[in-house]
C-alpha cells in the first residue's frame, strides 16, 4: 500500500521567548497509509500536539522531513483538515455558517453549491435540523460534530484530530468515536487521531503509535488487528483488553517494560510491528 504520510527522522525544538531552545520531539519515523486510521497516544507533554502541527504544516520540523503524497510539507496543505480539542466554533455564526467558515475564510465567498454540500455533510453527521442554531444552543458533543463537519468541508484526504472528544462525557465520547469512524469510512479519509485515551485509540484505530518520554520519542507502533466492524461488542473482545494493557504498560511504567526493550528495535523503524501477540504483551 502507498504511504500517504511519511515522518522521516522528524524531530522538533521550540525556541522559547528567552532564546533558549526546548526539545519537544526526538527524531521519529513512521508512516500512515491510504485510508488508514492511526492513533497517537502518550502522556501529556510527549509531543502529540507538536506532531499535529508538523503534519498540518503550521510549524516546520527542525530536523527531518514530513511528507504528504511524496512531497515535503513546507506550508499548510489543502489536503489536511484539522479538528481541535475544543470545538472553537464562532459564536456569532449559526451552525451552517460555521461549517462554511473555512470556505469563506479561504476564498472570501461561498457558492450555493457549497451551502448544499455543507447541508449534506451536516445531515450525514445527524445535525440536519440544527443548521440554523447558534453554537451556544448546542451540547458539547454536537458542537464537536460541527467542528468535524467543518474540517470535512474542504474535502481533505487527511484528517487530523487533536483529542477531539476529551471534553465530552464518557457515553457521548464512545458514541462520537463510532460516529467518527463511520464518517471516515464513508468519506474515505486517512486519519491521524491524537488522544490520551488508550481504549479509545484501540477501539477506533487500525494502528496505534505510542509516544513517551520528555522530549517525546516513539515507543511502539502497534497494528490493531480486531475482527469485524468496530462497535460496542469490540469492547468485549479479549484482544481488545490485551492491546490496551500493552499500551498502558508503556505509558504508566515505561522504565520497567524490559520485555518490550527486546522488540524495541522495531520502534525505531518505520515498519509497524506485526501483530504483537496481545497475550504475550500482557505480562
Amino acid at each position: 500500500m502507498k504511504n500517504y504520510v511519511e515522518f522521516i527522522d522528524v524531530g522538533h525544538e521550540y525556541t522559547l521567548a528567552d532564546g533558549q531552545r526546548m526539545r519537544a520531539l526526538s527524531p521519529i519515523n513512521f508512516n500512515i497509509q491510504r485510508h488508514e486510521f492511526v492513533s497517537v497516544v502518550g502522556p501529556s507533554g510527549c509531543g502529540k500536539s507538536t506532531l499535529l502541527r508538523l503534519l498540518s504544516g503550521l510549524i516546520q520540523p527542525t530536523e527531518g522531513e514530513v511528507r504528504i503524497f511524496d512531497k515535503p510539507v513546507t506550508e499548510p496543505q489543502d489536503e489536511v483538515g484539522i479538528v481541535f480539542q475544543k470545538p472553537t466554533l464562532l459564536p456569532w455564526k449559526n451552525v451552517l455558517d460555521n461549517v462554511l467558515f473555512p470556505l469563506r475564510h479561504k476564498f472570501g465567498r461561498v457558492l450555493p453549491a457549497d451551502k448544499q454540500r455543507a447541508s449534506q455533510l451536516l445531515e450525514m453527521a445527524g445535525l440536519g435540523s440544527y443548521q440554523q442554531h447558534m453554537p451556544g444552543e448546542l451540547s458539547g458533543g454536537m458542537q464537536q460534530r460541527v467542528g468535524i463537519v467543518r474540517a470535512l468541508l474542504l474535502s481533505p484526504d487527511i484528517l487530523i484530530l487533536d483529542e477531539p472528544f476529551s471534553a465530552l462525557d464518557a457515553l457521548t465520547r464512545e458514541e462520537m468515536g463510532f460516529e467518527l469512524l463511520r464518517i471516515c469510512r464513508e468519506q474515505k479519509k486517512t486519519v491521524l487521531f491524537i488522544t490520551h485515551s488508550i481504549s479509545e485509540a484501540v477501539l477506533l484505530s487500525d494502528r496505534v503509535v505510542v509516544l513517551g518520554g520528555r522530549p517525546g520519542e516513539l515507543v511502539d507502533n502497534i497494528e490493531i488487528d480486531l475482527p469485524g466492524q468496530r462497535d460496542n461488542s469490540t469492547l468485549q473482545h479479549p484482544d481488545f483488553a490485551a492491546y490496551t494493557r500493552t499500551i498502558r504498560n508503556y505509558i504508566c511504567a515505561p522504565h520497567k517494560t524490559g520485555e518490550q526493550e527486546k522488540t524495541g528495535e522495531s520502534a525505531k523503524t518505520d515498519e509497524p510491528r506485526k501483530a504483537v501477540s496481545p497475550h504475550k504483551g500482557a505480562a
Binding site: P76, Q85, W92, H105, G108
Partner: protein, 269 residues
C-alpha cells in the same frame, strides 16, 4: 384542579411582580431620595448656594425654555457623539496594529499610556490655542479622553481569540486581513462593547470639559455659565440633564449590542 391552576397563576404573578420590582429598584430608590433631600434642605435651612432643593432645581429646569435646553443638548450631543465616533475610527485600527505587530506594541503602547495619564483638562486650553475655536479642539479633547479604554478593550479582545482559531486560519491560509476581519475583530466584540460602554460616558465628560474651556453652547457651558452667575439650582438642573443624557447614551450602546450583537451578551453571561 382549578385551585391548582389558580395557585400556579398566583406564583407566576408573584415572580413577575418580583422581577418587575427588582428591575425598577434603582429608579425607585432615586425617586425615594427626592422627598428626603427636600425635607433635609427644608429642616436644616440649607442655603440654595450650597445645596438647592429638588423643587428649586425643578423650577429652574422649567424656567429655561425647551428650545434652549434642546440647543445646549444638541451641542453637547454633537461633540460627544462625533468625538466618540472619531475615537472609534482611530482606536480600532490602532488596536489591530497593536495586535499585529509586536514592534508597534512595544513602541506605541507606552506613548498611549503617557497620553492617557496626561490630565486632558490641563492641556485643553493649549489645544484651543493650537487648533482655534472651532469644533476641532472639542472633538480632539473628547477623542483623547475616550480612545484609551477602546484601544485597550479591543486589543485584549482580539488577543483573547482562541489559539485554535488562529491556527485554523493559518492552516487555511486565509491571510492577515481575513484573520482580523473574520476572526479576531468579531471575537473581540464583547470586549469592544464593554470598552464602548465606558467610552460613551467618558465622551460626555470629554464634551463637558471641552465646553468648560471653550464653547458658547452645550450643557457643560450652561453649567459653567450658571455657576458663574451663582444660579446654583439652574446648574444642578443642567447637571441632572447631563447625567440623564449620559445614562441614555449608555443604554443606547447596550441596545445596539443587544440588537446587532446579541450573541456577545449570551457569551458573557
Amino acid at each position: 384542579m382549578s385551585a391548582n391552576t389558580r395557585s400556579l397563576e398566583n406564583t407566576m404573578l408573584k415572580t413577575r411582580l418580583k422581577s418587575m420590582l427588582r428591575n425598577s429598584l434603582p429608579t425607585l430608590a432615586m425617586i425615594a431620595l427626592i422627598p428626603i433631600w427636600e425635607l433635609v434642605c427644608w429642616l436644616f435651612e440649607v442655603p440654595e448656594f450650597i445645596l438647592p432643593r429638588p423643587s428649586a432645581i425643578a423650577e429652574a429646569f422649567v424656567a429655561v425654555e425647551p428650545q434652549r435646553w434642546l440647543l445646549h443638548l444638541g451641542a453637547t450631543l454633537y461633540i460627544a457623539l462625533a468625538g466618540f465616533a472619531l475615537s472609534i475610527l482611530i482606536s480600532l485600527p490602532l488596536a489591530v496594529l497593536l495586535v499585529r505587530s509586536e514592534f508597534l506594541n512595544k513602541t506605541l503602547f507606552p506613548i498611549l499610556v503617557v497620553i492617557q495619564s496626561t490630565p486632558i483638562i490641563a492641556i485643553a486650553p493649549l489645544l484651543i490655542v493650537i487648533m482655534g475655536t472651532g469644533d476641532a479642539p472639542r472633538l480632539t479633547i473628547t477623542c483623547l479622553i475616550t480612545f484609551f479604554p477602546l484601544v485597550v478593550s479591543a486589543t485584549t479582545g482580539m488577543l483573547s481569540t482562541p489559539e485554535e482559531l488562529i491556527e485554523l486560519s493559518r492552516s487555511l491560509r486565509g491571510g492577515a486581513i481575513r484573520e482580523i476581519w473574520q476572526i479576531r475583530l468579531p471575537y473581540a466584540i464583547p470586549h469592544i462593547f464593554s470598552g464602548l460602554k465606558v467610552g460613551i460616558t467618558l465622551a460626555v465628560i470629554g464634551a463637558v470639559i471641552a465646553e468648560f474651556v471653550a464653547a458658547e453652547q452645550g450643557l457643560g457651558y450652561f453649567v459653567q455659565f450658571s455657576t458663574s452667575y451663582f444660579k446654583i439650582p439652574q446648574a444642578f438642573a443642567a447637571l441632572f440633564f447631563l447625567s440623564i443624557v449620559s445614562l441614555m447614551l449608555f443604554k443606547a450602546v447596550r441596545w445596539t449590542q443587544k440588537i446587532w450583537f446579541g450573541w456577545s451578551l449570551q457569551k458573557s453571561s
